[in-house]
Amino acid sequence: MSKRSDGRLRGLLRKEFLQIGRDPSSIAIAFLLPAILLLLFGYGVSLDARNVPIALVAESPDADTQSFMARFEQSPFFQPRNFATIQRADRAMLMREVRGVVWIRANFSRQLRTGVAPIGVIVNGVDANDARLVEGYVQQIWTSWIAARAQEARIPTPIPVSVEQRVWFNPAVESRNYLVPGLIAVIMTLTGSLLTAMVIAREWERGTMEALMVTRVTMRDILVAKLVPYFLLGMGGMAASVAIAVWLFGVPLLGSISVLVAASTVFLLAALGMGLLISSAARNQFVAGQIAIIAAFLPAFILSGFLFDIGSMPTPVQFITHAIAARYFVAVLQTVFLVGDVWSIVVPNMAALVAMAVFFLGAARLMSRKRLD
């Protein structure tokens, strides 16, 4: 490469940095947006059902019903409220004041001694995931109550199998610990592709692309000059996000920083490449912006495995997720944060990210030729 072309590239870079400096919205996208989003999401997104308001109905309260209901009072998962009749509890559920009803009928104590006493449980199933978690908690309370009763009466427990549960890598089963690393991937997708999606489209729309074309700079120079400053901005946003995750949300970071940096670099190149590709294909900020949202943010949110388990999706959809760069980044981040440098996960996912970065950057290079339509 000659000295002259070096100078041209430096000139272009200077232009891009000046442009970013003058339009604060790029800096806002790179730093403010990730920080605000991570704060909002970190506090806002949680799947941990705690203090679930639940209605307790004991039609004829006595020592037996009391011993069962007391377990709801002690449970961290429930916030019980007592109702005298099932009708009133039903009403409360209809008004969304409680998310479930536990209903013990009048002859409970007698049935308990003569046969099998039914305990009615009605949960609001609209949010199926939440309902299932609540069902699980009720089941746990029931199991421990039955076992405790058998022990008191000194009879063999009617539940012959005892289960010991171990949750690895996240012993407190905090959903924040897996959501926050995933959120970083979603946010970086957003900022990375949004940052670059508009920049080339803007040059086309304002007619300055033609002005650049008549100079001696090459298309490669133009792309590199667009890429470098936004890459630096993006990495800055990434560093801010990791700092927030570790210091503010207390997510453990067990893996090494170097793996984190390597993965972020490759991922950011892929995201920026996608933005450049969109940008040079659309040549129109309106369309570029829409495509960036629709092709980058929403799939990263739903198809990356950050929230919804990829393994549970139908096979054709699982196939589609392979085209989402965020999927690989989410996998790396969750493991590097919570487990450590597990090479059997890091290496294949990094390889996929490298392939995607090469593809997007190469395609962006091919799409942007010096040519007027």
């Binding site: 199933g125 009720v138 039955i146 539940i159 289960v163 690895w168 959903s175 929403l298 739903i302 549970s312």
Partner: protein, 368 residues
């Protein structure tokens, strides 16, 4: 006045729909997303990879292992023969759950001592972990009950009779797909509206518009109505798909649903117009749309319950129109909620429509 507004509406619709690319953006991706997300966004567990370490190898433990292998929630990867294999399987994410059956399992069962089973689960996705443990516990409890029954053991004195109201099969698609009505309607409406004024301002045609005999109310209506129209149409298509394609039960009335929908779309239009009149360039408008849209999706209850959020964040969701519309659309679909029951959701959206429209009108005059 209406002729002028109508002329502007026609001009806006033409500007959006004449451009092949922006037409495609409005029609193609939302429909693709509806189908893909409708299937992808599920919390239900299917074929979770599990491994079983059976250290007992007798009839009861084989029966228990077979129950795991036969469950549609699980897919057995391998039968392990030593505990050392567990760590690698879970760490590399090949198995999500390992069921380890104690070597004295059958002996303990016969002696009426608690027979031990260990469940080791990958907690990296804590929700999947909890659900998988829930399914596994149900399988083990069922096994225990039937074993006790066959071997003259004691019956538990009380039994749970669990029912899920409004969604008896606990199908999370019924929860997500109505949510997508709100999600995509908001995305499309906001994008159409937010960029309209900014585009004209960038092209310099906004000043031309201001020197026409149109009042700012006319311009506001002319800019807002196309978004309203496109948003309502898009929502209708998604509602049809939810009913006919995804077979989500629709128990309530369409009038109630559309009352909610219109209020929601106008509130979003008002917000879009505010963003649009505040921004000088399309990039700023897009950034503004984003800064509103992303938090409003996350803090709406679309994917994660509002009740799980901290109190302060819960209060923040009160100014989010999508929060109310999600309750309306899910209420009408699944609960068959009536207009009256949904009033607490409808009036905040009406209030937001009023406030944002007035604010947008004011901003128009100021910035125009």
């Amino acid at each position: 006045m209406w002729r002028r507004v109508l002329a502007l509406v026609v001009k806006e619709l033409l500007a959006i729909l004449k451009d092949g690319k922006s037409r495609m953006v409005l029609i193609g991706p939302p429909l693709i997303q509806l189908v893909v997300f409708g299937y992808a966004a599920t919390y239900d567990l299917n074929h979770v990879p599990i491994a079983i370490l059976n250290q007992d190898l007798s009839a009861p433990s084989r029966d228990l292992a077979a129950r795991f292998a036969g469950s549609p929630a699980f897919q057995e990867l391998a039968a392990l023969n030593s505990a050392e294999q567990i760590e690698d399987l879970i760490t590399s994410r090949r198995a999500t759950l390992v069921v380890s059956i104690d070597s004295r399992f059958t002996r303990d069962l016969l002696l009426h001592r608690p027979a031990r089973v260990q469940l080791i689960v990958d907690g990296r996705n804590s929700n999947t972990a909890l659900l998988a443990l829930g399914y596994a516990n149900t399988i083990i409890a069922d096994f225990g009950l039937s074993w006790a029954q066959d071997h003259g053991g004691a019956k538990p004195p009380a039994a749970l009779d669990i029912r899920a109201r409004y969604n008896p099969p606990l199908n999370s698609q019924w929860f997500i797909v109505p949510g997508i009505v709100a999600l995509l309607t908001q995305v499309v409406t906001l994008l159409v509206v937010a960029l309209t004024v900014a585009r004209e301002r960038e092209a310099g045609t906004f000043d031309q518009l201001l020197v026409t005999p149109m009042r700012s109310v006319d311009i506001l209506l002319g800019k807002g109505l196309p978004g309203l129209l496109i948003g309502t149409l898009e929502a209708t298509v998604i509602v049809l798909a939810a009913v006919w394609w995804f077979n989500v039960p629709l128990h309530g009335g369409l009038l109630t649903l559309y009352a909610g929908l219109l209020l929601f779309v106008t509130a979003i239009t008002g917000i879009g117009l505010m963003i649009s009149s505040l921004s000088a360039t399309q990039q700023q408008a897009l950034l503004g749309a984003f800064l509103f849209m992303v938090p409003s999706i996350i803090l709406s209850g679309f994917a994660t319950p509002i009740a799980n959020m901290p109190d302060l964040v819960q209060r923040l969701t009160l100014v989010n129109p999508m929060r109310y519309f999600l309750i309306v659309v899910r209420g009408v679909f699944l609960e068959g909620a009536t207009f009256h029951a949904l009033l607490p959701q409808l009036w905040p959206m009406a209030l937001m429509t009023g406030v944002t429209m007035i604010a947008a009108g004011w901003l128009f005059r100021r910035r125009g």
